[in-house]
């Protein structure tokens, strides 16, 4: 069985590569048991499957595992600190009670994390643009927007 090595959340994992077109999503979920990354549409429309590839958001449902190469993959399970402490985005999501059903929120959090890594102080337009690829069927956008701002503020505090 052909296999590949991928770096996921700081660990190098060996995964089945007999079909190199296998979407990264299913490798994460079925093979590595990282089920925080969700399946929503399979065509890169809803963003529930968003993970970070070298810090940039990608839709893992439409990204072949063979495309990972030497890049590092970060999933929702890889955000918390080494002692398990929530990162600022996760903490803001809990404090503001952002979720309703919560199914899209892993993807939302990963998209927000990617935004804040590249733009630590986004305005509404920047937030709307960065989050445009992530659907929330429950309509929690009001709180997601607030969550991004709260996380940005706490990251700023943490830096000073």
């Amino acid at each position: 069985m052909a296999s590949l090595r991928v770096n996921v959340n700081g660990e190098v994992r060996e995964v089945d590569a007999s079909d190199p077109a296998t979407p990264l999503l299913w490798v994460l979920r079925d093979e590595l048991g990282l089920v925080g990354t969700k399946f929503g549409c399979g065509i890169s429309q809803c963003g529930a499957c968003t993970v970070l590839l070298d810090g940039n958001p990608v839709k893992s449902c439409s990204f072949p595992v063979s495309g990972v190469g030497d890049s590092t993959v970060t999933t929702i399970e890889g955000l918390a600190g080494s002692a398990g402490e929530l990162n600022p985005v996760q903490q803001a999501w809990v404090d503001l009670d952002v979720a309703q059903c919560g199914y899209c929120q892993s993807g939302q959090i990963m998209a927000a994390e990617a935004l804040l890594r590249s733009n630590p102080d986004p305005d509404d337009a920047a937030i709307d643009a960065a989050m445009a690829g992530n659907l929330c069927r429950c309509g929690t956008y009001v709180r997601i927007r607030e969550g991004v701002k709260t996380a940005a503020a706490s990251m700023k505090e943490g830096r000073t």
Binding site: K38, I76, C101, V142, R143
Partner: protein, 747 residues
């Protein structure tokens, strides 16, 4: 094989949502809401029969204090059990909060777990009809107070003081006189040996003494959610599990005759493939082809290579374009009269102004974000199921029907649902997984794709309303006629497909006639968030604005005049509209939104009210429209009277979400059918609203003493008419079609 039966779908709608379904050839008149039946359904009468509560369990001789199914206290901590499915409406947090309030447990001390599915202990366990709060309010308070009384009794014994000298707070019993304090956890073993008190002996708190209810509490699963832990049905994994997909005929009612099974079975990673015939029940197991593989991807890949020869003799030929043409032909005719109060014809003859309008709306899909799935394992005659369902108990009934496995041999684990909106009231996916594991002899996780979900929803039906109305010389609304051209599955009007006594403005306008003509339809239709109300709200609250405009009067003034004197529309029946509560929320929303202020050109406020699911809700939308019909909804002001608020954070979240869902749906969502087939297959053709279009949402709750009622649904119906009324006031263009993208609007 016979043709599909749809009976169960209708019965489920009636049982869960309280919608009164009516057989087309049955009696003409819809019975007024029966008060006793209503009370029984909602458990609103204090001390009366509560379906969701059963006799207290005998206290254990030793061990944890567990006087009922909702509370378990031992030396290690306080556990509260959440009985109903969590679908995003927040009940896994809000229901235990009610228990904690009467128990006087500190919320930080509480661990919440999902209860087993056990109707003997919990009564009906389901998520539907915004019923969780009203049906369980009294029982959960009693459950908490029962445990509290036993803890107080144990403390009185230990401290040697009368129980009357003791109070409770933050998970402790306190003796004020001596300053002594005992933790519930330390008292639990003794308390478990106290007699379980009679319900009548319990004193419940008055709302003014609430410490926890009404506060902002973050959801109990939030930390697990943000860590990406396995909570949902789709996250389940069991030893030896294979992955399954199931292909049904693109037109419902079609049966699989043959398929390239040998070719599929030879594909890499594929374990098995076979045809299932179904059980002829449209809400259980439909015919199709199952593929079982070593991974989800291998199964999906094989499904793409599957070719099936379908027998479409009995399959749907549903056509939206044909329905539109048929409705156009019928709308000038009379329909069957279902409500006829006063004398509509006389009102029209003596009118100062008469207005008519033809309102239409498309079918829509639930589109809950987690595609349907179920994990099922059949071994030694017993079936174990893990499923994201809104109706676990009925799901087991459905599985028993579909597989022949006795219900007593079925165990169901309730999983968190990635959205529901009414779709998971039905358990076809559960039946499929059960039938597949039964046949294959291995545990399987059945996974629907988004395309499966769009093609096999139980849709919110479209509809067509020919309206006529009149105002007199004083500008008062005097007459209202609505001929509703609707849809019927198997001869029964679909969910939201019947006008009845409770539909606005019956009981408010003197002369009202509702007529109905159903069109036969094979694609399954069922409850979609705020059934009936989610479309009637748009139609009637837009048309009322048309009448106000024709009379040259202020919309707010006309709406308040229509409500008239303070009263319940059915005397003393809290399941019906209360005109005082209605007027209060309308006035509050108008005041908070600055109704009547000057607005810039191309920008206006629009108002709407709707009563549904026992909630009185008014919304004012602040909308601007540019020359290209691009709209911006700046802000929506919501005022609601749903009685005391349980969890303020969750309640506001539901209001914000309802506004976004309402806007998303009215802007651009539609499902169409041709040759029985759904024309939209995924989110690229079903454009849910994205963040940039989200308005500010300003929420106000009226502080009222009525029994609390649910918030999952009632804030959705007023949104579309509020926005459309604002567009009219801004531009003079009246929108009579949903979604409004049909009329060239974009957001």
């Amino acid at each position: 094989m016979s043709t599909l039966s749809y009976r169960g779908i209708n019965e489920t709608v009636a049982a869960v949502t309280g919608e009164r379904q009516r057989v087309v050839d049955g009696p003409l008149r819809i019975a007024k809401l029966d008060r006793r039946q209503f009370m029984k359904l909602t458990g609103l009468v204090g001390g009366g029969l509560m379906l969701s509560f059963t006799l207290p369990r005998a206290a254990a001789a030793s061990g944890p204090l567990q006087p009922n199914g909702y509370v378990r206290i031992d030396a290690d901590g306080i556990t509260l059990l959440a009985k109903n499915p969590e679908i995003g409406q927040g009940v896994k947090t809000s229901l235990p909060m009610i228990v904690a309030e009467e128990l006087d447990a500190a919320w930080d001390d509480v661990t919440v777990v999902q209860s087993p599915i056990d109707s003997a202990t919990y009564g009906m366990q389901f998520a539907g009809g915004s019923m969780s709060i009203p049906m369980n309010w009294a029982a959960l308070r009693q459950a908490g107070a029962t445990a509290r009384a036993m803890l107080v009794g144990a403390a009185a014994k230990q401290l040697g003081v009368p129980a009357e000298e003791l109070s409770t707070m933050d998970s402790h019993v306190v003796h004020k006189g001596s300053g002594r304090k005992l933790a519930y956890t330390a008292l639990a073993a003794d308390a478990a040996e106290m007699p379980v008190p009679e319900a009548a002996s319990l004193t419940l708190k008055s709302t003014g003494d609430f410490r926890l209810l009404g506060k902002r509490i973050t959801g109990v699963d939030n930390e697990a959610l943000v860590r990406g832990e396995a909570l949902f049905g789709i996250d389940v994994s069991v030893p030896g599990m294979k992955y399954a997909v199931y292909q049904k005929c693109p037109a419902i009612g079609g049966k699989a005759k043959s398929a390239n099974l040998a070719e599929i079975k030879a594909m890499p990673g594929v374990h098995d493939a076979f045809i299932l015939d179904g059980n002829d029940n449209a809400m259980d197991l439909l015919p199709g082809v199952a593929i079982i593989a070593d991974s989800t991807w291998a199964a999906i890949r094989a499904k793409r290579a599957l070719t099936v020869e379908w027998d479409e003799t009995d399959a749907s030929k549903d056509s939206w374009s044909a329905a539109v043409a048929e409705a156009e032909r019928l709308r000038g005719e009379a329909g069957e009269r279902v409500v006829d109060e006063g004398d509509v014809d006389a009102a029209f003859e003596s009118a100062a102004e008469r207005v008519s309008g033809y309102y239409t709306y498309h079918f829509v899909s639930h589109a809950q974000l987690e595609p349907q799935n179920t994990t099922a394992s059949f071994a030694d005659g017993a079936l174990e199921i893990w499923a994201p369902t809104q109706t676990p108990d009925w799901g087991m009934d459905a599985v028993a029907r579909a597989t022949g496995i006795d219900k007593s041999k079925i165990t169901l684990h309730q999983m968190r649902c990635g959205g529901g909106f009414g779709r998971r009231l039905y358990n076809d996916f559960m039946c499929e997984a059960a039938a597949i594991t039964q046949r294959a002899g291995v545990p399987v996780k059945l996974q629907w794709t988004r395309e499966d979900d769009m093609a096999y929803d139980l849709y919110r039906a479209g509809g067509f309303h020919q309206l006529e109305g009149s105002v007199d010389a004083e500008g008062k609304v005097t007459g209202w006629r609505d001929h509703f051209i609707t849809f019927a599955n198997d001869g029964r009007p679909v969910s939201g497909g019947a006008l009845g006594q409770g539909v606005f403005p019956n009981g408010l306008v003197e002369n009202v006639r509702f007529e109905q003509t159903p069109l036969d339809w094979k694609n399954r239709c069922a409850a979609w968030r705020a059934p009936g109300a989610n479309v009637f709200g748009f139609v009637v609250q837009s048309f009322l604005h048309e009448l106000a405009a024709a009379a040259g009067r202020d919309h707010l003034e006309v709406l308040l005049e229509v409500f008239g004197e303070p009263r319940w529309l059915v005397p003393d029946n809290p399941g019906t509209l209360n005109t005082e509560r209605a007027a209060n929320v309308v006035k509050l929303a108008a005041e908070k939104a600055g109704w009547g202020r000057n607005m810039p050109d191309g920008r206006a406020l629009g108002l709407a009210f709707y009563f549904s699911h026992m909630g009185h809700i008014a919304e004012v939308a602040d909308v601007s429209v540019d020359a290209d019909k691009k709209i911006k909804v700046h802000k929506v002001t919501v005022a609601a009277d749903v009685g005391p608020i349980v969890n303020l954070s969750g309640a506001e979240n539901q209001m914000q979400g309802s506004v976004v869902d309402g806007l998303s749906t009215m802007m651009g969502l539609s499902v169409t059918f041709e040759n029985g087939r759904v024309q939209q297959s995924n989110f690229d053709k079903y454009p849910l609203l994205r963040m940039a279009a989200t308005p500010k949402v300003d929420v106000h709750f009226v502080d009222s003493d009525f029994s609390p009622t649910g918030l999952g649904e009632p804030a959705l119906p007023p949104l579309a008419p509020a926005v459309c009324n604002a567009i009219y006031s801004a531009t003079g263009h009246r929108i009579r079609t949903l979604p409004i993208s049909e009329e060239g609007y974009t957001v």
